[in-house]
């Protein structure tokens, strides 16, 4: 395992981003959304459906039409991102398999790319990493090969190598908006992991700027970029800015499930629980995502609707177990849900511990720490939370978990310190857990 020291050194490399200096604030304020009117949104949806139908028809006529498989796979993944509907992931995987059946990956680079992407989306990060390495061997001059590899490595917790991959990606010198966007997003992510929130914000603004400057950007690209900024502002407690960017996302892409739920999160943080419930009800109606359902349950509980809350909590488990794919995708989220609600503590810990054997990212460590605490495994919790904090990430939930573990360890000073950090950074980081943090902090203060 890499030491904190090593990681620090790696992060201290002034990597990337001379290209990321920007006039973001001004241009972002001036962002033109005129070409994304609701009419255009409706047309784009219709276009997507027609495009998918066109490509599926081609495959019906020629079951070996590799080109259409590859194009379809891309469209399915886009629909997946837009709707959250996992059916599209299954279809994309099928398209990738068919494509590489027609011609082997070494003669079908796009098929191989598609395979790597679907593996990443399916949380099969180690396979995604391996496929991406094959891609790089075949096409060492294309940024997207490095993008898949770097992202997979981040999920596996191999930060040092991920950063080296992103540096290589930058060195390719691709000056296209697409490449710059890709880089800016990765920089934001690395900076956020490092705890450099201001730099992360700059890079996210830069990414939005670039997206807006692209030739015919899709609504999803613009909405996603806005939602990323909104997420960032929420995580730093700037709820007004978060609301503004979620609203921007929804202007571009009404019913964008990430923004609908995100706005609910903001409303809850602002104390408007009724509106928060409405937002989450809408989000769950769009896609019964496990975390959306879980949060909606929490909001019902906070508004005195115990019965509805319980129904949602039961639904959470059903969602996670409805399919093997769901089980894989929601493994960690379900465990954290268990821990947050003091349900099946040992099962939650075992679940996360197993995943952590192969996926050693800091959020995995955080989940391990939190579930270990709930399972009564204090030593394991103390070890894991150190790993979660090793990069210097400023995340209210990690601070909260660190505080709770310190409290359980009898280290009141450290507990107080972490809980204060959590509540200073993002006072309403979670509808229920933030209340608990305040309660414990008050007790510690006494």
């Amino acid at each position: 395992m890499k030491t904190i020291f090593v990681i620090t050194i790696v992060f201290s490399i002034s990597f990337l981003f001379n290209s990321c200096t920007s006039n973001s604030s001004s241009s972002t304020k001036n962002q033109s959304l005129s070409s994304f009117s609701p009419t255009t949104v409706a047309e784009e949806t219709n276009t997507e459906e027609e495009t998918i139908r066109f490509l599926e028809d081609r495959i019906k006529r020629d079951p070996d039409d590799m080109i259409s498989y590859n194009m379809l796979g891309e469209r399915y993944l886009k629909r997946l991102r837009e709707t959250g509907n996992l059916t599209y992931l299954s279809l994309a995987e099928k398209a990738a398999k068919e494509s590489t059946r027609v011609l082997p990956p070494e003669r079908n680079i796009t098929g191989l790319s598609l395979m790597a992407l679907t593996k990443y989306s399916s949380h099969e990060f180690a396979i995604a990493r391996d496929e991406a390495e094959k891609l790089i061997a075949l096409q060492p001059d294309q940024i997207y090969s490095y993008q898949v590899l770097g992202d997979a490595l981040l999920e596996l917790g191999d930060y040092e190598k991920a950063i080296s991959i992103f540096k290589k990606m930058e060195k390719l010198g691709d000056n296209s908006p697409n490449a710059k966007f890709t880089l800016a997003i990765r920089v934001a992510r690395i900076e956020k992991l490092k705890g450099s929130l201001a730099k992360a914000e700059t890079s996210l603004l830069e990414a939005l700027d670039i997206a807006l400057s692209m030739k015919s950007p899709s609504r999803e690209l613009i909405a996603w970029s806005n939602a990323q900024l909104a997420d960032h502002y929420f995580s730093t407690g700037d709820y007004n800015k978060a609301e503004n960017y979620y609203q921007q996302a929804l202007k571009v892409f009404p019913d964008y499930f990430l923004a609908v739920a995100g706005l609910g999160q903001v409303k809850a943080a602002q104390g408007n629980l009724d509106q928060a419930v409405k937002q989450y009800e809408q989000a769950v109606g769009l896609i019964p995502d496990l975390t959306f359902v879980s949060t909606l349950g929490d909001l019902y509980k906070l508004t005195g609707k115990e019965k509805e809350a319980q129904q949602k909590y039961e639904l959470v488990e059903q969602i996670a177990k409805i399919s093997t794919l769901n089980g894989v995708l929601y493994n960690r989220s379900l465990a954290v849900f268990y821990a947050n609600h003091d349900i099946k503590p040992l099962e939650a810990y075992t679940q996360v511990e197993k995943e952590f054997e192969t996926r050693k990212d800091i959020y995995g460590a955080d989940a391990l720490a939190w579930t270990a605490l709930k399972a009564g495994k204090l030593t394991e919790a103390q070890t894991a939370i150190k790993t979660a904090l090793k990069l210097g990430t400023k995340d209210a939930k990690i601070f909260y978990h660190a505080g709770m573990i310190a409290q359980a360890s009898g280290d009141s000073k450290t507990a107080k310190n972490y809980l204060e950090q959590a509540l200073t950074l993002n006072p309403q980081f979670d509808p229920i857990q933030s209340l608990n943090a305040k309660k414990v902090l008050t007790q510690l203060g006494n």
Partner: protein, 412 residues
Amino acid sequence: MINKFRYLILGFALMCLFALPLLPISAPVTKAADHLESPWVSKDPGADIADLYFFLDPNDNSKVILAMDVEGFVVPAELLNQCCFSEEITYRFELETTGDTKPDKFIDVTFGPHGSRRAPQVATIKLPNGKSFQAFTTVQRQPGATPNSVSEANALRVTTDPATGVSFYAGLTDDPFFFDIIGFNRYVIKLVDRNPTAKGDLTRARDSFAGFNIHMIALSIPVDMIKGSGNIIGANAATLRPKNGVRLPGGQVKGSGELVQVDRMATPVINTVLVTSLARKNEYNATTVSDPPDKFFSDILFTFRFIRTSDEATNAAAGLLKMGDYLRLDTTIANTNLGVGEKFAVTPGYVGFPNGRRPGDDTIDTILYFVNSLEPLGDGVDTNDREFGKVFPFFAQPNQPPRKDDPPTTQF
């Protein structure tokens, strides 16, 4: 850097499919997901050259047609949204007129900002004589009433500059290229494995480009304007991007710094078929047309010898590159048609590729002729799926979206 021919050996099917600037990295449903789900943004689609066409106007041999197409595999349903050319890219035709390897004359086409997806862009065409003119692009305004019906609103809009006699078209067209990517790739795989059944894979006869559209830039130019002292002109297409780009408030991009080549394309065989190793292919893409042409000869010879092509055929193919990778056109050889249905070394009086390239030239069968030791061989796809136009720009109107009342189909 992607062109169709790279698919030939590599099966690079489709960087062009990234016509939309995104693809994700993933994901599921998720916010839920505990990892980043970012749009996957790939490559530089606006700069990817698919093909170069270079031929005498069959209606008037005093004019030459130069056309490059970029960013292909546009699905008909997307044609209303895929209106635009990148305003950051310089689309350059490099012309060699003195019989050496260095380009002597240049035609640069650039495009202004696109205000909306339905409004045309203004193109600026800089000619070799120092003159320039501007013209609108053609954007698709509405789908046809029936698939492939031609409406007045979507007519290909040609601009002729009265001062120079140069005509210009830029916009979507049907992709004029035709061949079976899958069959050809399978053939090549078996050929390299020296599998005697290789030719059996050339019987699928499915046009991989049928039904797709592409972004076309076409010029009709008086031969005298670009000809040198000789009668043979070499042409190469390149896309270039400023080294530095600055985003202005509002998102407009203004380039600065030297232009850097992104892609190039001339003879439709060089990189994909004749240069075999991936590393060498990348190196090839990074070079300019005026780099020493013999740099890749060893790769070409190796390829042909490895697949046991005859020395005669090998030398003939390699000879195409002796003076650099240009499509060379002898302007004294009269041309009366677009090459539809004709075959190199078979059709009497054939005047097409590798003498320039006409839209109807069956370039793949010509390549196969060389690969097959100067014996005719074909992929079974002999013509484009759409009929070409009779006048400039000659390419067919873009394929239109399906009708609203077409029955929906199920997922495959």
